[in-house]
Amino acid sequence: MFFYAKREKFEFDSKWWTLKEGVNAGASSMGMFDRVKAGFDSLKAGLARTHNAIMGSVESAFTGESREELLERLEESLIRSDVGVKASSEIVDHMRTKLVGKDMEKLRECLRDEISGILQAVERPLVVDRSPFVIMVLGVNGVGKTTTIGKLAHRCQSTGKSVLLAAGDTFRAAAIEQLEGWGKRVGCPVIRQAQGGDPGAVVFDAMNAAVSRRADVVIIDTAGRLHTKVNLMEELKKVKRVISRELPGAPHESILVLDAGTGQNAINQARLFNEAVEVTGIALTKLDGTAKGGIIIPIARELKIPIRFIGVGEGIDDLRDFDAKDFAEALI
């Protein structure tokens, strides 16, 4: 019966699905199964693109190049996926030492293992182990915080948990209404105040509402901010302090949202957000494009922050648990 319930949710959501697909002939008549399938297909297609880009250069290389040349190409492929020069050369160097006596065909497998090894250390899905469980969502501008919150709220609700959203972005125009829109889609309440208000006050209200309404999960949206802006990072710390004060032990999770398209700057983002509020999880969005998101590899190596989710689209169901093996496979 679980399946049936899910189907109803889908039908409920179909209005907004069709809006964007309007230009796509016949899309609005797509049945639910097609849509689910289309979702998976787009993920697969996305991952395949990533895969081909790299393997194109690697496989062609199996035709008689020396091992050194091949390793160089592998390093190049990693750099092209935003893994960064330093991490890429270290990973390949490490492989080099293990390669003695191995034949060329093993190379690809070897690199995949290497990367999957690095990422497995941070493959830890989010476990909601108490109620209320408070999640704060942070990141630079436009990475997908609000959308990820919508998807996550939907996921929590469909596992039977009651969700409360807090419109902590009081700065950006219509950020509150955007979150309210998600609240409507998901079917959960949104605590808000007026635009331009104090995010601390919103969070204060939300914490109290969470207790009085017995919400299982509270997800707090915050305004996008560049990690270099000291005053805005101070504001974030304050928001966190208000949460902890109102509900000792909270927030139980602080998710940093990173855009897979981001280059080396994501490392600084992760470092500075982590210093300011202690990031406990990462969500990597927009993996449905051609961006590879390789930047999480140096981040995983340096900061060891668990990677919770990946975003693979703008729809309500386009959130997946991070899977190190799949990710590595898609990358190499």
Binding site: N141, A173, L226, G261, G263, A291
Partner: protein
């Protein structure tokens, strides 16, 4: 990068002087540093390769000039080449047609909607009569977002609320513009992936309706290697006329700009330097070149300083210093001048090597410091501002209370002020040359 690139070049090429000219062998190592710097700045791998080859060709056989060190000379070659490739000369908007239409396109979350409002504000200040058109009917509250921004910049906004498709919006907005006499349309579109063919097709059909003078690809300056694919994708399916580089107020080095420029051949026209509607600047290639190479952006700093610190004020101040009559009030004025330059952070980020230093030493900049100092000075009486010597303990306590600070803060400020006066005295004895260095407005 702990060392600035130019410093590295200096070391690597130290010994070239004796050899008379730059050669393949003596620049090899310096080229490696160029490659590394560009990759770290997110310039695409292929683009880096081409660039390094071009620099090599330019540099080889160059005689080492007497006036420059080999390091400086190489720095100049790299910087000039990069500046050239980034666009050579600045290019503005080309607003043909009436009304002339500017379409904003790009990936999700890149800054299209914000940029639409920023451009409207800019165009209005140039005497045009812009009209904002929200054609993103997909993302939640996207129309409302732009409506609010339009109200903020005081520009009329087309009412898209009841429209069914973006095409309807565009047709209807054109009709209204014709009646009401708007001369420039700023059309915001929904974010989309370049690989989403149906949505790219939608853009093409909007383009057919609007016949835009400009199609600006709005891109995030933090973008990584994928910038070549996205820029190419948008350019090939809709034909962009230029790029707007957003979120430039952070610490991203912005190498994606070079990637986009090289793959599309289209100019970068503007940079977004903040979330607020007035944070849009015309693009200057030389400045970005300095930033990509982490050589600082001294030019911007100098220009900004010149714009804010006017000549007359500088003269007056100089006079005061000569007479040793520099009061706390003047000190406050100075701080306000600095504040006008932008945030301390943004000023310092233009200083060569600062970003490296900041990372290495973990420097935090306290923007509140200036505000605190201002508050303290504001809480002083006229007499106190003129003559700090009268500031006894009880006065200091009162000032601290009045400004909501601690006595230690007041003490610190007074010490700083006195140090500054001492320094000024020294400068004075060093003659006019010594003074000049102190005021950015006097630099030239």
């Amino acid at each position: 990068m702990l060392e600035s690139l130019s410093e590295k070049f200096r070391k690597i090429l130290r010994d070239v002087r004796g050899q008379g000219s730059l050669s393949e062998s003596n620049i090899q190592e310096a080229l490696k540093e160029v490659r590394l710097a560009l990759l770290e700045a997110d310039v695409n791998f292929t683009v880096v390769k081409d660039f390094v080859a071009a620099v090599k060709e330019k540099a080889m056989g160059k005689e080492v000039l007497e006036s420059l060190s080999p390091g400086q000379q190489f720095t100049k070659i790299v910087h000039d080449e990069l500046t050239d490739l980034l666009g050579g000369t600045d290019s503005g908007l080309e607003l043909k047609g009436r009304p002339s239409v500017i379409m904003l396109v790009g990936l999700q979350g890149s800054g299209k909607t914000t940029t639409a409002a920023k451009l409207a504000l800019l165009l209005k200040s140039k005497g045009r009569n812009p009209y904002i058109v929200p054609a993103d009917l997909f993302r939640l509250a996207a129309v409302l977002q732009l409506k609010k921004l339009a109200a903020e910049v005081n520009v009329d906004c087309f009412d898209s609320e009841n429209m069914k498709t973006p095409a309807d919006v565009c047709r209807e907005a054109l009709r209204v513009a014709g009646i009401k006499g708007y001369d420039t349309l700023l059309v915001d579109t929904a974010g989309r992936l370049h690989v989403d063919s149906s949505l790219m097709q939608e853009l093409q059909s909007l383009k057919e309706i609007l016949k835009p003078a400009e199609i600006l690809f709005v891109a995030d300056s933090m973008t990584g290697q994928d910038a070549v694919n996205t820029a190419k994708g948008f350019n090939e399916s809709v034909g962009i006329t230029g790029v707007v580089l957003t979120k430039f107020d952070g610490d991203a080095r912005g190498g994606a700009a070079l990637s986009m420029r090289m793959t599309t051949g289209k100019p970068i026209k503007f940079i977004g330097t903040g979330e607020k509607v007035d944070c849009l600047e015309v693009f200057h290639p030389a400045r970005l070149a300095g930033r990509i190479l982490d050589m600082g952006d001294v030019l911007t700093l100098i220009e900004k300083a010149q714009a804010t610190f006017d000549e007359k004020q500088a003269k007056e101040l100089e006079k005061k210093i000569r007479k040793d009559a520099f009061t706390l009030e003047d000190f406050k004025d100075q701080l306000q001048q600095i504040k006008k330059l932008g945030s301390l952070e943004s000023i310092l980020s233009m200083v060569p090597g600062f970003s490296a230093l900041k990372q290495a030493k973990d420097i935090k900049i306290d923007e509140k410091e200036i505000t605190r100092v201002e508050a303290i000075i504001n809480s002083m009486t006229r007499k106190e501002k003129q003559d700090v010597l009268c500031l006894n303990a009880s006065r200091r306590q009162r000032i601290a209370k009045g400004s909501g600070t601690k006595v230690q803060d007041v003490n610190k400020l007074i010490n700083q002020y006195q140090d500054m006066r001492k320094m000024m005295k020294k400068m004075k004895s060093a003659g006019p040359r010594g003074l000049r260095g102190m005021f950015p407005g006097r630099m030239r």
